[in-house]
Amino acid sequence: MLNLFLKDVKAGAIFLWAVVPLNVVAALQASRSGGAFFWANLACAALILVAVSMLEWKNDAEAFVHSLPVTRAMVVRGRYLTAAAIGVLSLLVGAAVGTARALALAAQGAPWPRWVAGDMALAFVLAFAVVAAVYLPCYFRWGFGRGNIVAALILAAGIIGSALAGPAAAGHPSVTAEGTLHGGVPPGRIPQGVAALVDRLGMAAGAVIVLALAAVILAVSAQAAARAYERQEF
């Protein structure tokens, strides 16, 4: 599994480097809207996950990968490890870039922005876990082309369903009815929900719950992906 992860790192290095410039762009955008940074950081991580997965498809290298001494289950676990690494890398780069941007804003007399905080890091972990948990089983079941479409449809349906279910800001005092505030908690059920959870239970308990939830989501997703991939032929 570690070898498959290292394969992804070496083959996808070109995309992994893109984390830095993409986050810088996101941080510059964040001066206009606090929510933009969170979601741009997440989109950047998702983009890199898709790009790394694209490499085998683009190069027609699946036969090569499966001629190596690996099982299909190992390939799936390796890609989940890669996804986890992309999430952590994006989070770290995002935190560094976001902190630098926040310090620059603070130097101009602005208050420390709400979107650079521990609970937003947790929200990022949970949101990326959801994205990876939807995307990877689709990729392993339908391949890169159809899998991307199905995953995009599922995620879009989730976002639309969430928006239709009620105002994103429900119950959290730091967000206005418009849902987006400069320096406020980013809009969306996950950042809002995590912020509310941490407010209620404290950072430590909130972190345990959010990380456990992310782990469970990814574990269930990995099981589904492995089952789907076991039936694939190349």
């Binding site: 070898n3 070496k10 001629s67 001494p69 099982t71 032929e233 190349f234």
Partner: protein, 286 residues
């Protein structure tokens, strides 16, 4: 003899194509040529051996193990060269080797470097920039560098210049020379097999036509040429894929004694068939 590869009644269905009840074996220390026209099922057999597809019936053993249940152990002992080697085009050959190396328990880096030098593969060049022939050479270096017991080659000589093709065949002959390793060589270029194959397995329309040693083939199959007026029922019954020209007929026989009897006293040429003759005439309607 200890078979390194054994298929017994292997069946695999696809929409529009089925590989049915294929059985053959390859002992250690030999080269087996897998021949057949396009769409015959050669690549399906290669994929079955590599575990890329799973059989629906029958039994498959590679190095004594089932490639489905002992997938890792089996693949650790197989070297594979695809017809069109596809890795990551943006990576250099040396980087590809660094990716492949940790997967194999018996990877031999000095051997890989020696092979790359011998095959004149530029290790610092991106794989996608290499010519087709050089890609195949790089794939061969990767496949040979982990001391595979079974080398599976899918049309490996396509795109190779004649000089390297000849040296590759010599290398493969040396590779099986220790009696431990074997080669499964799927190809359309039957001339390569005439030079080096110990066994020939012929598939057509998803079915096994024959699998036997090259010597047995030489003893069994003959091309017959003669005056078309000699083509009576007895002669026709002994021939496959008869071609009738204005001055002569040509056909393939697997029963030289019968054809000699039928043509006794007449002028006809009976000569050993090449693999290409066998493929061609057995694929023609009678």
């Amino acid at each position: 003899m200890d078979p390194i590869l054994e298929l017994r009644g292997v069946t695999k269905h696809y929409p529009g194509f089925s590989l049915r009840d294929v059985s053959f074996s390859l002992p250690r220390g030999f080269v087996c040529g897998l021949i057949g026209p396009n769409g015959a099922g050669k690549t399906t057999i290669v994929k079955l051996v590599l575990g890329l597809v799973r059989p629906e019936a029958g039994e498959l053993r590679v190095c004594g193990d089932d490639p489905v249940t002992a997938e890792r152990a089996v693949k650790d002992r197989i070297g594979f060269v695809h017809e069109v080697p596809a890795y990551y085009d943006h990576l250099r050959v040396g980087t590809l080797a660094s990716i492949v190396r940790p997967f194999y328990s018996r990877w031999d880096q000095p051997l890989f470097e020696a092979l790359v030098r011998e095959f004149e593969v530029p290790a610092g060049t991106r794989f996608g920039s290499l010519s087709r022939g050089t890609r195949t050479k790089a794939a061969l270096a990767l496949a040979l560098a982990h001391h595979a017991e079974l080398l599976v080659l899918d049309e490996p000589t396509a795109g190779l210049d004649p000089v390297f093709r000849r040296s590759l065949l010599e290398r493969l002959a040396a590779y099986v020379g220790d009696g431990r390793c074997s080669v499964l060589f799927s190809t359309h270029v039957t001339g390569d097999l005439e030079r080096m194959a110990d066994y020939v397995t012929f598939v057509r329309d998803g079915r096994l036509v024959f699998s036997s040693t090259r010597e047995e083939l030489g003893d069994r199959w003959f091309v017959v040429r003669g005056d078309p007026r000699l083509l009576d029922d007895a002669v026709r019954r002994s021939l496959a894929g008869v071609e009738i020209g204005p001055h002569a007929f040509t056909g393939l026989t697997g029963d030289p004694a019968a054809i000699r009897r039928a043509l006794a006293g007449h002028e006809a040429v009976i000569e050993a068939a090449t693999l290409e003759d066998i493929m061609y005439y057995t694929g023609r309607p009678c």
